[in-house]
């Protein structure tokens, strides 16, 4: 009797989610929780000395880094500029190459399915290769220097840019494009007059964003011989010349902050 009453009450106030979905979400939640607990346990087991040891080491390491050697600035300024140049060239080339790829990877413009899926798959593969691996491959092919670094950055930023911009293209208002098609415009005209004005601010903003990423990435790429400031940083650390290394790190920090500030201001003005 009470059971019947309960079921009646339930019918009157249905729960927000169906029971099946509730069940699924609960299961997923516990599976993820399990993964977290397991990985926490596992990483702790691998860490020799635990947190206490790391903290003790930290102070001795940090002490070695101070004070930074200010005299080294003129010598490292060249490689720093090289790093910025690498990022500029790579971003420029990537942003040009990305245009056809992004258009082909946008479902609403590329209605020919096989072409769309091919480009999408190609971009997905491109994005799965880490920038560091790309740099190692290109350094192996072309030797140590700026060129392999630039190539690695181009491929790396192409993957990100084309993906993000194709998604921007997919979100545009298709009505003006229909109007231009209806007035006899060809594919290029429809894209240029209907699509480009709608995508341009987003495009510029994303290019600036990828430029910021490239500045940081090009520092890391120097580590594997792809030129720029990273190469010098790696050398100095290798010689245990910590004050010099610290100065390099400070300089990178300042440059990254300045560039991010400028590009943030530019992006704010655009949107």
């Amino acid at each position: 009797m009470t059971n019947e009453n309960n079921s009646l009450a339930e019918k009157k106030t249905p729960s927000i989610y169906p029971a099946k979905i509730k069940m699924q979400i609960t299961v997923i939640f516990f599976v993820i929780l399990g993964i977290y607990l397991f990985s926490m346990y596992w990483t702790q087991k691998e860490m020799v000395g635990g947190f206490a040891g790391a903290l003790g080491n930290m102070f001795t390491v940090i002490e070695k880094f101070f004070p930074p050697n200010l005299n080294v600035v003129p010598a490292i300024w060249g490689p720093m500029v090289e790093t910025i140049q690498m990022a500029i060239i790579a971003t420029t080339v990537a942003s040009i190459l990305t245009i056809p790829l992004a258009v082909l990877a946008a479902r609403n413009v590329t209605t020919f399915k096989p072409l769309y899926y091919t480009t999408r798959t190609f971009l997905n593969i491109l994005r799965t290769i880490p920038d560091l691996v790309l740099a190692v491959i290109f350094v192996g092919l072309f030797g140590i220097g700026l060129f392999p670094g630039i190539l690695a950055l181009i491929v790396f930023s192409l993957g990100i840019l084309a993906k993000l911009i194709s998604e921007t293209i997919e979100s545009v208002d298709m009505n003006p494009l229909e109007a231009m098609r209806a007035s006899g415009g060809n594919v290029y005209q429809v894209i240029w007059y209907g699509l480009v004005p709608q995508v341009l601010p987003q495009f510029t903003s994303l290019v600036l964003y990828v430029f910021e990423i490239n500045i940081r990435a090009s520092v890391v790429l120097g580590y594997v011989g792809a030129g720029g400031i990273g190469l010098i940083l790696n050398q100095q650390l290798g010689f245990y010349n910590y004050p010099n290394a610290m100065m390099i790190i400070v300089l990178i920090f300042i440059v990254v902050i300045v560039i991010e500030y400028i590009s943030n201001k530019l992006r704010e003005a655009l949107i």
């Binding site: 208002d173 009505n175 003006p176 229909e178 109007a179 231009m180 098609r181 209806a182 007035s183 006899g184 415009g185 060809n186 290029y188 005209q189 429809v190 240029w192 007059y193 209907g194 004005p197 709608q198 341009l200 601010p201």
Partner: protein, 258 residues
């Protein structure tokens, strides 16, 4: 002249958009197509410039069957047919003049248009067209700064710049208030008379259809159920077209305010 001969259209999902349509639209006519939403008005109009492709029958525009047209022919066909949309379909971020010049794309080479090198006459024509719909003072405003009625006038100017032989208008006033609706229809009618451009308009407001049309085509479930001059149309005709009695919201009203 536009001739529909036994035209049928089945969408890929199996819906029948048009069923055995037969109609002839003579040059210079102002035809209003009425019917409930889903009756096939849009499909009818969009078949003429091949935004949709009929699956059977023949559709002659200037005595040429357009159903099998491909890219080159299709663009040439579309250059002589202007289209006006319910949502104006302007590029919101571009300025008014650039939107109007887009009407000239079919007449302009790809390279020229990409570098915005429109011919002097074309720019003059665009400005003239804006003047004709009384919106020439907004020439450098961004399209999204204009009101709905102003945007629709810009889209009329875009069509005028195209110098079309036919104008298709797909629910041009459905997003506008009564006074602006009448204003837009008045411009369309005026252009139809002055330039002798054949105009086909989709409407679902009975009173507006009666006021502006020379001829009314009534559609229901993909078929033409009425076709005749406005003088032969009465309330009863509309009840037959709609398959129900006429209601308040079938009328736009506001004719006196405009």
């Amino acid at each position: 002249m536009i001739e529909f001969n036994n035209v049928g259209l089945v969408y890929p999902n199996g819906t029948e958009g048009l069923k055995n349509i037969n109609a002839t639209i003579k040059d210079g006519e102002f035809v209003v197509i009425v019917g409930l939403s889903g009756a096939g008005k849009s499909t009818f109009i969009r078949s003429i410039n091949r935004l949709v492709t009929p699956t059977s029958g023949s559709l002659l525009v200037d005595s040429e069957d357009i159903i099998n047209y491909h890219s080159g022919d299709l663009r040439k066909l579309r250059t002589k047919i202007g289209m006006i949309f319910q949502n104006y379909n302007l590029v919101k971020r571009s300025n008014v003049l650039k939107n109007v010049l887009a009407g000239r794309l079919g007449h302009t080479g790809t390279l020229r248009s990409i570098f915005s090198l429109f011919k002097k006459e074309d720019i003059g024509l665009a400005y003239e067209s804006l003047k004709r719909v009384n919106i020439d003072e907004k020439i450098y405003n961004r399209a999204d700064e204009l009101s709905g009625g102003q945007q629709q006038r810009v889209s009329i100017a875009r069509v005028l710049t195209q110098k079309p032989k036919y104008i298709l208008a797909d629910e041009p006033v459905a997003s506008l208030d009564p006074p602006t609706s009448h204003q837009v229809m008045t411009y369309l009618k005026k252009i139809n008379k002055e330039d002798n451009i054949t105009t086909i308009v989709n409407l679902h407001f009975i009173d507006m259809a009666m006021e502006y049309a020379d001829r009314i085509i009534g559609m229901r479930a993909g078929e033409i159920v009425f076709d005749g001059p406005v003088s032969e149309v009465s309330e009863k005709t509309f009840e037959e077209i709609y398959g129900r009695s006429i209601r308040e919201d079938d009328l736009r009203g506001g004719a006196d305010e405009s």
